[in-house]
């Protein structure tokens, strides 16, 4: 099955990239507040079992995909 992991800077962590994006958006005339920039990781998994998939993805995030000091993540299961 497929899954998507969204990795975001933790709340409270300064995100200079997000600040640069929000200032650019304002420059374009958009009325925006804070912007935060994260990463999208699409993963094709060998298993089709949602519980097993979630366990594996949690482990992937803990070991590699996110740095727990500065990043949080959410897992979205989807696709076949």
């Amino acid at each position: 099955m497929r899954a998507t992991v969204l990795v975001r800077p933790k709340p409270g962590i300064l995100d200079p990239q997000g600040q640069a994006v929000s200032s650019s958006l304002r420059h374009l005339g958009f009325d925006v507040g804070e912007t935060r920039v994260g990463k999208v990781v699409d993963v094709e998994l060998g298993t089709n079992d949602p519980a097993e998939a979630r366990t594996q993805l949690e482990s992937m995030c803990a070991q590699l995909l996110a740095n727990p000091l500065i990043e949080g993540y959410t897992i979205e299961l989807g696709g076949e």
Binding site: P16, L64, L65, N67, L69
Partner: protein, 235 residues
């Protein structure tokens, strides 16, 4: 010329390392038998008495800087060497790798300015307790260049307090001279045992008066001393 033995210092080379030759040259001038070791090696040379992880952009900085290099075969050997008490110095990208590998606390983030910084900076030695800073004295100011886009060291309040209590914050940028926005002006940290040091400034670029400062030789020379001592201790 000194007749002291030349300890073997391994300079690990990853795809994307670019300061390995400068590190090798600087270490050789400071009395080490400096050898470059490719990342696919599963073991360090048998007489290795010190390790340097040099600057660069290992594995293209994919995902996060240092995150992929952590999985290279040679790094398992470096981790074992460090855990056994061997002296290990991580410079810039090497510092990033050591934090990702869990050998040093904290993490390096993109510079607050989002700009790459490349200039000499004044760095203050906070503690010279680590053998890797033994040639320095506390409160000494060193001039060493930085050149990085992701050198903003971060630790949360709890971690910073713990490191300060343990004397693990080894180097700070001088007041007003922080080039990247790091928490507490941190420029370098050591592990709890003091045998692993990571820093963003590049001591290997500050060893020749022709290029300005020679303060980097104090740090690399300390590593060579520590390597020589570990050889003497094992004989």
């Amino acid at each position: 010329m000194s007749t002291a033995p030349r300890p073997l210092v391994a300079v690990v080379v990853f795809p994307g390392s670019n300061d390995d030759r400068d590190a090798q040259l600087a270490l050789a001038r400071l009395g080490a038998d400096a050898r470059r070791v490719w990342h696919t090696e599963h073991e360090l040379p048998s007489d290795t008495a010190g390790v340097v992880l040099p600057g660069g952009f290992s594995y293209g900085d994919y995902l996060r800087c240092g995150a992929i290099a952590r999985f290279s075969p040679v790094l398992q050997a470096v981790v074992a060497f460090a855990r056994a008490g061997g002296p290990v110095l991580g410079i810039c990208n090497g510092f990033q790798i050591l934090t990702e590998a869990g050998l040093l606390p904290g993490v390096l983030r993109p510079n607050e300015s989002l700009s790459f910084v490349c200039r000499d900076v004044p760095v203050v030695v906070e503690t010279a307790d680590s053998p890797l800073l033994a040639r320095c004295v506390p409160r000494q100011s060193l001039t060493i260049p930085v050149k990085h886009g992701e050198g903003c060291w971060f630790g949360d309040d709890g971690l910073v307090a713990e490191l300060e209590a343990n004397g693990q914050i080894a180097l700070r940028y001088a007041p007003g001279a922080n080039p990247n926005g790091s928490v507490g002006d941190v420029a370098g940290v050591v592990n709890a045992d003091g045998n692993v040091l990571g820093l963003m400034p590049h001591p290997e670029h500050a060893v020749d008066p022709l290029l300005g400062s020679v303060d980097g030789a104090l740090i690399l020379g300390s590593l060579v001393d520590a390597a020589r001592l570990s050889v003497a201790a094992s004989v």
